[in-house]
């Protein structure tokens, strides 16, 4: 049982870290979210192990991030010093425009956009992860994409690549 959970953690950590990074915009909060999500899976491993632990971990991660964003109401942009060390390394450059554009979305809109684009979820899937109705999820996604489109248009107008 312990081996099964360890194998799950090893396999899922990089993917969850990527999702968390897209949701938070900084690797340190991403690492915290991954740890907390996997811990909650671990506590319930006997029940979840034979079901869908990956889905549970992703749902937990998305909702924890929304709670975190509500509490903090801020986001750390690239170049800002983290207040603690996290055992993660940045192996590729992240487009600053993308980070800033995502930071203009509400936590729910951002989660909806990321889940749609990165996880390829439909409205029902997004609603399940967010814990809201399908209509609300559709609204979050629509507004989020609309705002991203506005930012992209503004970027093109100033002639950025």
């Amino acid at each position: 049982m312990r081996e099964g959970f360890e194998a799950f953690v090893e396999a899922e950590t990089p993917r969850l870290l990527g999702l968390a990074h897209a949701l938070t915009g900084n690797p340190h909060d991403a690492w915290d979210l991954v740890q907390e999500s996997l811990t909650r899976v671990g506590v319930r491993w006997r029940r979840l192990g034979s079901e869908n632990p990956g889905g549970y971990a992703r749902t937990t991660l998305v909702r924890l991030n929304i709670d975190r964003a509500r509490r903090l109401r801020r986001e750390m942009l690239p170049g800002t010093l983290p207040d603690r060390e996290a055992p993660v390394e940045i192996v590729d450059q992240v487009d600053p425009w993308l980070v800033e554009a995502l930071a203009t979305l509400t936590p729910q809109q951002r989660a909806a956009v990321v889940l749609r684009v990165l996880e390829d979820l439909d409205h029902a899937g997004i609603a399940e992860r967010l814990g809201c109705s399908v209509g609300t999820a559709r609204s979050h996604l629509s507004r989020g994409l609309s705002r991203m489109r506005e930012r992209a248009d503004a970027r093109q107008e100033v002639g950025e690549p």
Binding site: P14, V43, R116, V117
Partner: protein
């Protein structure tokens, strides 16, 4: 990006999500987190149980007071029946009679009626026959049926799995703990482990009751 926003976003977000990698294995950190979380949950459950016991004790105490006010009969000194109680119990008796009465009933066990005992024995028979949960030992006690279950998680945490607890609670088990193989190997068998559960439960109730009362004065 406006024409193919989702496609462009997909490429950018995929790069962003692949831009960070863990530099260490997460297993040790996660296991430590799981143990901490289980301990917190165990503490919460214990506090809840203690609160329930205290509430029952306080209710019994209030009833006793009401009864004594209605019938002004000289109450029997609580220390008179404390011959089998431990020194701690006697000490409690000197200060908090109603609560001590309740504890003596718990420890001595004379509060269980024959009907309750029959029910508890029925529950013990049921849980011992379970194939889905490995019940190592189950026993009738003054605080209800105590079941010791076998843990196969390898975790040192002494709390039983929540799903197992829920299943046994459905059948009427009052207290579920994990069988302690280390204690058993050292000579602490089933009965002493059950006694330990009772002692822990009662001690927590006594402590919380004392805090509650001292705070209320």
């Amino acid at each position: 990006m406006t024409d193919h926003l989702e496609d462009d976003l997909r490429d950018a977000l995929t790069r962003m999500s692949g831009a960070v990698r863990p530099t260490v294995g997460a297993c040790d950190t996660i296991h430590a987190g799981v143990r901490r979380s289980r301990r917190r949950r165990a503490l919460g459950t214990a506090v809840g149980t203690a609160g329930l016991v205290v509430a029952v004790a306080a209710g019994g105490s209030a009833l006793t007071r009401t009864a004594s006010e209605q019938t002004p009969v000289e109450p029997v000194p609580v220390t008179s029946s404390a011959s089998s109680a431990s020194p701690v119990d006697v000490g409690e008796a000197a200060t908090e009679p109603p609560l001590v009465c309740y504890l003596q009933r718990l420890v001595v066990g004379d509060a269980i009626t024959l009907a309750e005992l029959r029910d508890q024995k029925r529950v013990v028979g049921q849980v011992r026959a379970l194939s889905s949960v490995q019940v190592r030992h189950a026993e009738t006690t003054p605080i209800g049926v105590v079941a010791l279950v076998v843990d196969d998680s390898g975790d040192a945490d002494l709390r039983a799995d929540p799903s197992v607890v829920a299943r046994l609670r459905e059948l009427g088990v009052a207290h579920v703990r994990e069988w302690d193989p280390a204690a058993a190997a050292a000579g602490t068998g089933a009965a002493p482990q059950v006694r330990r559960v009772i002692t822990q439960t009662v001690r927590i109730a006594v402590r919380d009751g004392q805090e509650c009362r001292s705070g209320g004065r």
